[in-house]
Amino acid sequence: MNLFWQRFKRNRLAVTGGIMVLALFFAGALAPVVSPFNPNDIDRKHILEPPGISHPLGTDDLGRDVLSRMLYGSRISLSVGFIAVGIATVIGVIIGAVSGYYGRWTDRIIMRVIDIMLSIPTFFLILAVIAFVGPSIWNIMIIIGLTSWMGVARLVRAEFLSLKEREFVLAAKALGASNMRIIFKHIMINSMAPVFVSAVLGVASAILVESALSFLGLGVQPPTPSWGNILTLGKDNIEIAWWLSVFPGLAILITVLVYNLVGEGLRDALDPRLWGSKG
């Protein structure tokens, strides 16, 4: 663990990313305190105002403060990212563990299902389900989670395949430990590192999917602010209000970027093959 931390610290980009991740987290958590305005306050006298002193990032078509809406929007993006990934990780770990541990036909069927799931244009399916079920933040989290567990399952399966033949597992079996105990107590703990990395990277892609859905009007519904639905307003007012397009998009870009940087940094730090190499 110590060695891992030392390696991670040496990667300046990843550390910067980590600091940014924390900063974004606090910005969202403290949104009610740091927002200059109430995100839903309509001000008909200041419609579509460009960035200025009172509204640092301008106002939208109803005179609402864009900065405040973006701060509240970050809560949506982050909670969708984390909960969707949480769901995907739990499903992926369980399915991957079962597949890798039991092997044989269980494994074959599960791998087939994963192949099938990977061949479906997932964004189409997400879009269809959200349109039918109705766009609420919970539905979005669940459906993103349900359609993105395949990568984790493959990772965990691969770990299980190699770990289940190792001596400590064979020893546990010889001592009469139950399958459940071996899976959860002995193998799972040793296979968590790559899962953690893929979860961090997964947050980034879930945020991207959520913002795309909101942009298409099938995500978080106004008046609740989200980065995606502010961008929809940006598209509608593209000829007159550049700030509605530029800032929320930049927020998505930076958030996804820093999660990716941290994920890659963790991956490199966890990979023993890269230890001692220049980095």
């Binding site: 479906i120 964004f123 399916l125 349109a131 039918f132 298409l216 929320p248």
Partner: protein, 332 residues
């Protein structure tokens, strides 16, 4: 080799079956029925009329029976009729034989994706090779930064920025549709130029994310290959570096890219909903968006199935490409 191909083709059938089964169940089990929309639009509709309507569409039967009926028609390549008021067959909406080829939805989406894939390939491969052969150089560092940004870039935001810059600020490029209003009055060359101008932004946007991913992949694949013994051997016998890279290393470094191209098809197809929506392109993605908004089950299922067929064909093509490139597989 032929047996391998036949085996792969046969394998596609159960996969396709599985995809349609999963999609059908998910879509039909989702709460809310297409008839809800009709009732919302017309509150005077009576419960009896509604039931009659459901019966007409076969929505009153158990879902497994509905799937069986759907499957039976699919085998004959009949995707059924759209639930929308025009009641046109789904196939006609996707591939309208009365329209010229360039106006058919499936063709438009297919060509756009093919174009952006082509652009990804011809740009990403050289970028990746140069990054690998000049590892840790300034060029490598700059492209790495750009690649990371490319990974994180929401494609619809990139589209908005480019529209603002090239469409509105400079007024160089059109930002919507596939042709201008005065298209029909243009001479042949003008027509071609008009189409090209309309394609520049959408194709660039849809290629951008793939560019980042593929050039990164090419870089790591190349880095791995140039550490191999046979590359050292080629250098040791005194071959010039360009020959070592482009004749000996490149062929092997390209193999994983072929697989990656196959795997990127679902992402490209899914992405077409977004950029067809932004750029107002009358393709399959736009049709899909309209069909989910009106709960047009047959149309949704039809497009999902075609998307899945395209994806599986992409995988098959990449396997075939792999086979031609790698003699070790061909021998099997």
């Amino acid at each position: 080799m032929i047996t391998y191909l036949i085996k792969r083709l046969l394998e596609m059938i159960p996969t396709l079956f599985g995809i349609t089964l999963i999609s059908f169940f998910i879509i039909h089990l989702a709460p809310g029925k297409p008839t809800d929309i009709l009732t919302e639009l017309n509150p005077k509709i009576t419960p009896e009329a509604r039931e009659k309507l459901e019966k007409y569409y076969g929505l009153d039967k158990p879902i497994i029976v509905q799937y069986g009926m759907w499957l039976k028609r699919i085998v004959k390549l009949d995707f059924g009729e759209s639930f929308s008021t025009d009641r046109r067959p789904v196939m006609e909406k996707i591939w309208d034989t009365k329209q010229p080829l360039l106006e058919r939805r499936l063709f438009i989406t297919f060509m756009l994706n093919l174009l952006s894939m082509f652009i990804i390939l011809i740009i990403a491969i050289p970028i990746g090779i140069l990054s690998a052969t000049h590892q840790y150089s300034l060029y490598d560092k700059i492209t790495t930064v750009i690649v990371f940004i490319g990974f994180a870039m929401p494609s619809f935001w990139l589209a908005l920025l480019l529209m603002m810059l090239f469409g509105i600020h400079f007024d160089w490029l059109p930002i919507s549709g596939l042709k201008s209003m005065n298209y029909d009055s243009l001479p042949l060359l003008g027509k071609i130029w008009d189409r090209v101008r309309h394609l520049i932004l959408p194709v660039f946007v849809s290629a951008f994310t793939g560019l980042a991913a593929d050039s990164r992949f090419m870089r790591s694949s190349m880095l791995e290959v140039i550490r191999q013994d046979y590359v050292t051997a080629a250098r040791a016998k005194g071959l010039p570096e360009t020959k070592v890279i482009y004749r000996h290393a490149l062929k092997n470094a390209l193999l994983p890219i072929i697989t990656l191209m196959g795997l990127s098809v679902p992402g490209l197809i899914g992405g077409s909903v977004i950029f067809e929506n932004i750029f107002g392109i009358p393709g399959m993605g736009q049709l899909f968006y309209m069909s989910v908004m009106t709960r047009d089950y047959p149309l949704v299922m039809g497009i999902l199935t075609i998307g899945a067929i395209l994806t599986l064909s992409g995988n098959l093509l990449s396997d075939i490409g792999y086979m031609f490139a790698d003699p070790r597989i061909r021998a099997k």
